[in-house]
Symmetry: none
Subunit: 224 residues, 4 copies
């Protein structure tokens, strides 16, 4: 496999299942690439549509048209609408997951690390409003999409776990007041989620940057 192709595969995240299927097909490199791009195109447009109209309000026709793909093609890449929905949520999760978890739980300067982290995460939350709305949708309808919800929930737990570790270290080092780390973590992720909902139509506004110190408060910093 060429390096170029390999890079592309990385960008489609970890859709290992289809990945395996596609690379095992007896077709040319070129064709393989096209298929991967087509699949990605469908998923990308699906995020917007599912986020805006919900699962039932989004039709395959809408997706096919927005992705400039024939109606039937959607079904050559995804067996059912439900699977497409799941892939739409989970494929992107992997990408966001990485950048959201990108902080050091054992830093020398905890306060600095927290501030950097908040800055980074606030930025992500302000930029990717569409995807986060989709996440909210899944959470709100978790009874209907239990498996998809479960994966999101696992990521949430992982994030809170890592946050908790960071907080514990800060407390040990005397940089943070003694508060239950898990509650702090939960409040922080709740705040991010809630902000995204409350400022639903303000992507990338200045407001987001201003929020950082307020979020900081939740961690119980000894000097602010």
């Amino acid at each position: 496999m060429t390096a170029k192709c390999f890079m592309l595969l990385l960008t489609i995240d970890r859709s290992i299942i289809l990945f395996k299927e596609i690379i095992s097909m007896p077709i040319s490199e070129n064709q393989r690439l096209k298929m991967i791009q087509k699949r990605k195109r469908i998923l990308d447009e699906s995020i917007d549509l599912f986020a805006e109209h919900g699962y039932d309000g989004t039709t395959i026709k809408m997706i096919a048209e927005k992705a400039e793909v024939s109606f039937g093609s959607v079904f050559t890449y995804f067996e059912t609408k439900e699977q497409l929905f799941h892939a739409t949520v989970i494929d992107s999760l992997d990408a966001y997951s990485e950048i959201i978890l990108d902080f050091n739980p054992n830093p020398e300067n905890v306060l600095q690390e927290i501030e950097n982290m908040i800055n980074n995460q606030i930025k992500i939350f302000s930029e990717f409003s569409t995807y986060l709305l989709l996440v909210v949708y899944v959470v709100g309808h978790h009874h209907r999409f239990p498996e998809t919800f479960n994966e999101l929930d696992q990521f949430h737990d992982k994030l809170r776990g890592k946050l908790s570790e960071l907080i514990k270290n800060g407390q040990k080092m005397g940089q943070l007041f003694k508060l239950d780390p898990m509650y702090v973590a939960s409040c922080y992720t709740s705040l991010l989620m809630g902000l995204r909902l409350n400022f639903i139509d303000e992507p990338e506004s200045e407001m987001w940057k201003e929020i950082v110190p307020y979020a900081m408060q939740l961690f119980g910093p000894k000097k602010v």
Copy 2:
């Protein structure tokens, strides 16, 4: 009109149009009461269904069956599904609105008032998860339900305004650190909303009470 009937009408609130229709109808007091109750029944069950299944996922048949009302009856009380949805969200809003805004923005002891308020609101948010999920749904789909969203947004602004007033007073009285009151208010409502989403399956758990001091932090209290 009897006092009893009048009280009932208050609880169904703003459905002025139907209200007018019902009271102008040449029918007996008794029948009027029955109609009002029937309408309320439909709205109550609609909350659960719309919250769980979304607008498109909820059918009139489902509502009629859950409310133990004939299929046709739903359409004698609400012209269209969309109107029923709007009424479902907005009728309840007024009821919740009152208890959520139930705090004094000019108290003698601001810290105490804030703590009481948080206690009260956390309680509400923990108990009425279904309705709040519905609110989240409308917010997430605000392009589709602009009018309904607008009314929710107005309430949100009203709430933040009143919170802001309380915070300002606290700062004047030296009980709170100087922070932008509007940002604090926004963070606080975001936190409530976010908590509701993150602890979606934990209505009325002990956890909610523990959250109070963490929420308190956002207001920048001078001693905690």
Copy 3:
């Protein structure tokens, strides 16, 4: 219930389930009648279509148009296409069943009774070619319609049982040669079915009457 209505119900055979549903509905006598007729109309046209095009080759649209009923109406009378198919086969079975089993297994003159019976059954098989084709279809696809097939099979067993009894009596009375009664019965019903298939485009032709003595042979009559 009026006598008229009762008679009509008899003609729709034993579709007890729907019968109960319809008569328990809080609607007028007149409306009830219309519904029963509409249902019957759909079933009648379904026989022809399913018989000619098979299950997959027949569309709900075709049925609705032939029965002069709206597309949606088909689904107010039958939950699914599969159920409609089952009802199409089984509702008619009851009607035919009665006239096919209309012979006396303990007659004084067995030979005469057999001849009368064959005459009668040959007539039925010659006239109702469409329905019999449908029966053949179900038998040929019994793995796909196991329940429907099972009911047809039970009727077949019942018929062979009664034939067997008649044959036994004929043998006891010395009017028939000693042959295994069950085999004779099976051969006879097979002959009828086979004839229906072989003379598929010759309903009510003269040929059918001529067949009687040949069918008679199977019973092993002592003088012909």
Copy 4:
């Protein structure tokens, strides 16, 4: 062309069109053979599938998978699904035709010849239930597959003609009662077909052998 290849071609019989195409292709002997086998494989599996699921219920994908042939290959051997269906029925007909017509219409001992013939044909009917179900399917849907039906009908006429000849000879020689030979023949083929339907799930059971004397009766033997 090698003798071996020629023999193979005979077994795939009338597919003259493709036959011409294949032998006129500028390819190696070896490749030619492979193609012929592949075509046969498709047809063989098609019998089972069309017989069990009917024309509409059978998909090209099902056939390709069962025949372990690529989806696209089916269309390189057969222009349309309809042509494949026709070939499936007719190619096999020639094979069965030969063994079913394998009796002498002018034997010395007619009764013996008839018994041998019935034995042989009953055996065939008991063994090849799948193909016969397919025949029944075509007969039942003759309006939809007129050409295919027509070829089956011609074979049926040919069979009845030859049977008729045998019966006439038997009557001339005083071994059979005087009965209309054509009716007898029709009854006999009907009996075979009917038995196949009635004992649809009993391939090769003992029952079939027992049937012989009962079938014999139809021919009007003077002593049995």
